[in-house]
């Protein structure tokens, strides 16, 4: 080993709920949540597109609200409930959105989709009737470079319409 000391590697204990199950792990103090999920827990469905909070690819839910995985330190989730694309896919809560997204090809490369779906999920949970412009505004923190957004707006609109029936 080298003789050079680096700071930031001290560990903290994290006690939280992850995808409905208790989580107790030690994490590096400087590690952000997205890296923790991806590197320590192998939950690679949460993607990193910019690591400075702009693109939205790393979006997860913390206590039911969308949050940037890259701007959240792992230590910050203690005492909270975190949900990722894996958890929300496995428990079926994203099924309707996933179905409407897929039917319209509202994803191409799929890299933004985890974040986009979670952002959309937060919106449809609200159950409000929304205009296309309002849907567009809500998802404007999630960059998609492939689709041009039209089909994504269609898909979210379709889920909202079902909810209001």
């Amino acid at each position: 080993m080298g003789d050079v000391e680096l700071i930031g590697d001290e560990e903290v204990e994290v006690v939280a709920t992850l995808n409905g199950k208790p989580l107790k792990r030690r994490a590096k103090a400087r590690q952000h949540l997205a890296d923790f999920l991806r590197q320590e827990l192998e939950l690679t469905g949460t993607h990193l597109g910019c690591e400075h909070g702009i693109c939205g690819a790393c979006t997860v839910l913390i206590d039911g609200r969308t949050a940037r995985g890259c701007l959240t330190l792992t230590a910050q989730i203690s005492g909270k409930s975190v949900e990722t694309i894996e958890g929300l896919s496995d428990n079926g809560r994203l099924a309707e959105l996933q179905q409407e997204f897929i039917a319209r090809n509202a994803a191409q490369c799929g890299f933004c989709s985890s974040g986009m779906l979670l952002t959309a999920y937060e919106l449809v949970q609200g159950g409000e009737k929304l205009s296309r412009s309002e849907i567009r505004e809500h998802i404007s923190g999630n960059m998609c470079r492939c689709t041009g957004y039209h089909a994504i707006v269609d898909a979210i609109e379709a889920v909202l319409a079902k909810g209001s029936r």
Binding site: M1, G2, D3, V4, L6, R38, L43, T44, G45, T46, H47, L48, G49, C50, E51, H52, G53, I54, C55, A57, T84, I85, E86, S89, Q98, F101, I102, A103, R104, N105, A107, Q108, C109, G110, F111, C112, S113, S114, L117, R132, S133, I135, R136, E137, I139, S140, G141, N142, M143, C144, R145, C146, T147, G148, Y149, H150, A151, I152, V153
Partner: protein, 780 residues
Amino acid sequence: MASQAASTGIGARIPRRELKRLLAGHGRYIDDIRLSRMLHAYFVRSPHPHAKLVSIDVQRASRAPGVAGVLTAVEINPRCEPFVGVALHRAGHRSAPQRLFAADSRAEAEDAAELIEIEWQPLPVVADQFQAIAPGAPVIHHGMPDNLAFDFTMEQGEPAKAFAEADVVIEEELRFERQMAMTLEPRGLIADFNPSDGSLTVIHAHQSPFQMQEIFASHLGIPEHKVRVVAPDIGGGFGLKLNVHCDEIATVVASVIFGRPVKFCVDRLESFVSDAQARDHRIKCRIGCKRTGEITAMEIDDIGAVGAYGMPMRFNVAEGMMAVVMTGAPYLFDSYRARTRSVYVNKNLIGMYRGVGMPFACIVGELLTDLAAHELGIDTVEFKRRNYRPKSALPCVTPGGQRLETVSFHECLERLVELMDYDKLRQEQRELRGRGIHRGIGIGTFCEQTAYGPPYYGPSGAAISTQDGCTLRLEPSGSVRCLTSLTDQGQGTLTAVAQIVAETLGTSVDEVSVAGNDSAISTYGGGAWASRGTAIGGEAALRASTVLKENILSLASAITQTPSDELSLANGQVINSKTGLSVISLAEVGRIGYFRQDTLPKDFDVQLSVNASFVANDKPYYMANGVQASYVEVDADTGFIRLLGQWAVDDCGRVVNPLLVDEQVRGGTVQGIGAVLFEECIYSEDANLLNGTMADYLVPMAYEMPDIVVSHVETPETSTRLGAKGIGEAGLIGAMGAVWVAVNDALRPLGARITHQPFTPERVLDALARAKPAEPPVRP
């Protein structure tokens, strides 16, 4: 009998089949993959655009925790000759890699790199194309007389005479700033050299595994059959991931040196300074017209700043060349003069990005004809109706040398005019102008070279294969396995291939699996670039499945003692073509074909795996075309531009999957709108990038973008059985032309013109400040 295949074959709207997996978070992108004993690479890069290395001390850094080694140009470059690789004594652009740190984790490699002690001496900088060609400019490459890398001129007809005789001449100077491809997933690869058997496997987020197989083999001196390049799920390509980046080659060299897998995944900040960029052109252009409305001549003089070096494989003259050969292609005129120059500057290399120069051609042609039509008092649609090349004039060769065979300009325009309700929009525009609301309508007509053939690259000597291949195997259960040489970064090409196979074999796509993205498993081919996948790889799939169908029918004929010409395939069954009744299932054919050959005639030759490759030996491209319209509103007080409507009509020949094609068009359109309104790599006067974060480099987000109406005219390519042309770049090209014209149309009553892309609010306000109050401008 209703065919099951009709619901999933050619023409069916099927989503990209990978989406179910990707949208559940089950994708496997490059940074999701780990190999045992894998190291992580990080590069120390030049902090200056042009600098000499004075001193470097890596002693402390190389002792940092987790560091396996530090490599320099001394170790790396001799192993990948003749590649211009890692900077040794001099960096020609900011971010030129100088040292490779390999460590147990990326974080440790970055930490260690912080400890390096390095001193650079900045050198004089060449920052833009006009500075580069000015007398006395610093010369970037020793041994060259100046910074001019490429200079091409062409002339057709009598342009001087034609301009002199024109009643109206319009001249403009256009400027296109640098852009990023900005795939949401940055670049990345894992190189895995096995020192025991000398084999190299590279898992590479790349559009062309075959291209990289050839490059790694030839540059690293590894026998080609021992090199395998596999693409995982890829988070967008758009041409960026077709380029040959020197840090990626260096990563492969590091794996050879360490004898261990080495991963290198670019993070976003690194992507800004190290990715191949695009555009950066200045174009002078003019058009001459007769009072009666015909075009007498066009001229274009382009100069592009291509970065400090040429991009390996395709160099970077393509944007300029494409601009000069494609300008004015939809229009009837005879006299043409064109020049394009590429010059070196101390900036990132320019590489491939969706559209490659074709947006310039579209913008030049559409802006000039729109301005000319207005000057002549002719409505722009009427001007196009008079001046487009009609079907009756085909085939023809344009003044830029483009062969047009199956294009459909008039049909596309008429469809567009109907879709957007052109006359009504014009009326609305007039009424609102009276109330001080400035709306503009723009139409962007384009041709698109798609699906290059061997005449395009072959003569240059580049090892770029324009063929694609398909291997098909009937499985014993009656389902079908397909291996294609194509790659898919989101386009849905592998889905289209499945549809073509399913259609031909009379089965459902659910019975066809498709694997691609791997240089070792399929027939040799190209991959994804230049809007080629379905047109060429789809044709190969059609040909392979036609052969497999014949073989299945011949085997079924032997089993059932029925003449094979009375048999055909539908619903996963061999059927009697006359009665439509099932004769034998594909599963039964498979069972006997693989396990009960003893029941067949002694000499019967069972071939249930077949191969086909396809390339059009004599065709440089399949020319697609289309037209788009934009409806915009410009706020003259703030300079903000709002898109109110966008319509696209494309002719990409036979449409294999209308859903995927529509979405290609929509996605391309939004990238095109982004280019015109937002996207710009802002450089300082001394060539340093000033906006290298996603907070500062603006891309289109959902709120600013309009809904996009898409429609198709289908004029099949006649030289293939499938009849498909490409569609990948069409949306971007047409959108850029349409938005350019629409914004200028909105500014017209204000006497302003904007010709510097992107059209930021600041530039719009500058254009308004420069506006000439009197209209119309002086006639020549």
